[in-house]
């Protein structure tokens, strides 16, 4: 076997220190995306930015708007041009006094983390990896996190709370989907062995609202971690992803969801 496809997509990690104006974040995101082969529709660094086309032609776009110096607004569009969040402009804030801002970019994903001291604000967008199934069937599949805020209202939903388009559907829905290996609601099935070795799983999801639940795919370069081990936002974990290959993942600031947190690859 080789490294699975979802660990093999190009990716990068950028941390901007003391961001006081989201224009700085947009410029940093632009630099990161262009370096990975995304294209800037505006040609002048204002986006929208389009992912490299997958082998089946699938792509998505991200539009970023500086609502104010401290507020970054974003929209996601699928390859058909449909607004994934049905027109809702989610946004994230930075401190007026500045805070670190992390950019996890890839050819099939983008995750952002504004490390505000009191509460991180995070967002992620992705085209899901569905290997080993063919890419073109039934459809490219996109997900976008429903948060962290709309205007001044801060939601910090569970990170499984997303927009997605289901097979046969014609419009994106705001749905909660379950990560595989999810602990039950009455018992704790920890992502650890009896010998206390942590289990870091690919960020795989199933449609828990359907019976049988269907496998929806994976966020490339992302894992789910068990925070009963004390892992918090910003923590970094080193995970073997193949024989002799270690990867470093950093935990986003999204709220814990049934003892689970989402982390993206840093190196």
């Amino acid at each position: 076997m080789a490294v699975p496809a979802f660990w093999a997509t190009p990716f990068s990690y950028t941390e901007l220190l003391a961001v006081t104006d989201v224009a700085t974040a947009i410029a940093g995101i632009h630099t990161a995306l262009i370096a990975l082969g995304w294209t800037d529709d505006s040609g002048v660094g204002t986006g929208p930015w389009k992912t490299p086309a997958r082998s089946d032609g699938a792509f998505f776009k991200i539009a970023l708007t500086r609502t104010s110096a401290t507020r970054l607004s974003f929209m996601m569009y699928d390859q058909a041009g449909i607004n994934v969040s049905a027109g809702t402009a989610y946004c994230m804030d930075v401190e007026a006094a500045g805070n670190p801002f992390q950019i996890f970019a890839g050819t099939m994903h983008l995750a952002l983390n504004s490390a505000r001291p009191a509460q991180h604000e995070s967002a992620w967008f992705s085209m899901m990896d569905q290997t080993p199934e063919p890419l073109t069937f039934p459809q490219a599949y996109y997900r976008m996190y429903s948060g962290p805020r709309v205007g001044s209202s801060f939601y910090n939903y569970g990170w499984n709370f997303t927009y997605c388009l289901y097979p046969g559907g014609t419009a994106y829905q705001q749905r909660q989907v379950a990560p595989l290996r999810m602990p039950g609601t009455t018992s704790t099935w920890q992502r650890r062995t009896v010998a206390l070795t942590s289990l870091f799983s690919p960020a795989e999801f199933a449609d828990s609202g359907n019976t049988p639940p269907m496998f929806l795919g994976r966020i490339p370069q992302a894992i789910v971690v068990d925070d009963t081990t004390g892992i918090v936002a910003g923590a970094e974990v080193i995970v073997p992803i193949d024989a002799g290959v270690n990867a470093t993942f950093k935990v986003l600031g999204l709220a814990s969801y049934y003892q689970q947190r989402l982390a993206f690859r840093k190196s």
Partner: protein, 261 residues
């Protein structure tokens, strides 16, 4: 990557006609499988007591097969410490029936296919990788359709087996691929393709906390629309394995299949 350790152990499969309808003949055939066909072979320290090959980490289990009466076979499973994991039975009826023996250095699964239905008895060790084998002591499991008083109590199925863990040998859950509030495992891709997964078992380490104990050797989870006895081809690396769907009762929309080739 290489083949998962749980698919790297020995495996054998054979079906026998028990024309006499007497479980004594089943014990004879199981003896032939474990002592003669298996390599590495099991041993028989005393009559009907079979001990699995001891691996490099010193792990093993043993099973005691006892003829209770013509149609009733009992299997007691003990762990490496000599503690009884479970004592389970089947009743195969008195008419001729078929015995199916799935065996290997780390697993033994017996099935009785009779006019009255299907029954099973099971025992084995878990693959504990990537932890070192033997990294924790909860690696022996057992099961069987009926209790030691011939009650079909539902404690042995795809999601339940017996272990000498915190829960005192009560059934545990194969929970690795549950999806939160949904009661079914995720074994279908959104395009309808079937997904096969290793059988990972959790153990209770307290009254409310379960952690992963390991994977059953040479088992896969499969969808419940595959009937008992169905043979399926599953890619397990750059090769495919042939697995047969067992008669372990369905749970959470899943069945189990064991490798036969």
């Amino acid at each position: 990557m290489s083949t998962l350790t749980c698919f790297g152990s020995s495996y054998y499969y054979k079906e026998y006609l028990i024309a006499s309808g007497d479980v004594a003949d089943a014990i004879v055939n199981v003896r032939t499988e474990l002592l003669t066909r298996n390599n590495p072979a099991w041993t028989e320290p005393s009559g009907g007591l079979f001990k699995s090959p001891v691996d490099a980490a010193g792990r093993f289990c043993d099973v005691l097969l006892t003829r209770i009466d013509q149609q009733t076979l009992e299997m007691r499973v003990r762990n490496q410490l000599g503690a009884t994991v479970c004592t389970r039975r089947w009743q195969a009826g008195t008419s001729p029936w078929y015995l199916r023996v799935f065996s290997g250095q780390f697993h033994l699964h017996l099935e009785a296919w009779s006019a009255g239905g299907y029954a099973h008895l099971s025992a084995g060790l878990f693959d504990q990788s990537p932890d070192a084998q033997g990294a924790h002591p909860l690696y022996v499991y057992g099961g069987g359709l009926l209790s030691n008083v011939n009650a079909n109590d539902g404690y042995s199925n795809v999601s339940r087996c017996f272990m000498a863990d915190y829960n005192g040998g009560y059934a545990d859950r194969v929970a690795a691929y549950m999806t939160g509030s949904n009661s079914n495992m995720c074994l279908y891709h959104m395009n309808g393709a079937k997904i096969y997964r290793p059988v990972e078992m959790y153990a209770y380490v307290s009254s409310t906390t379960m952690r992963i104990a390991g994977r059953k050797y040479q088992y896969v989870l499969c969808t419940a629309d595959l009937w008992y006895g169905t043979q399926i081809q599953v890619p397990i690396d750059n090769v495919s394995g042939t697995f047969m769907v067992t008669c372990l009762p369905t749970a959470f929309g899943a069945r189990c299949a064991i490798r036969i080739a």
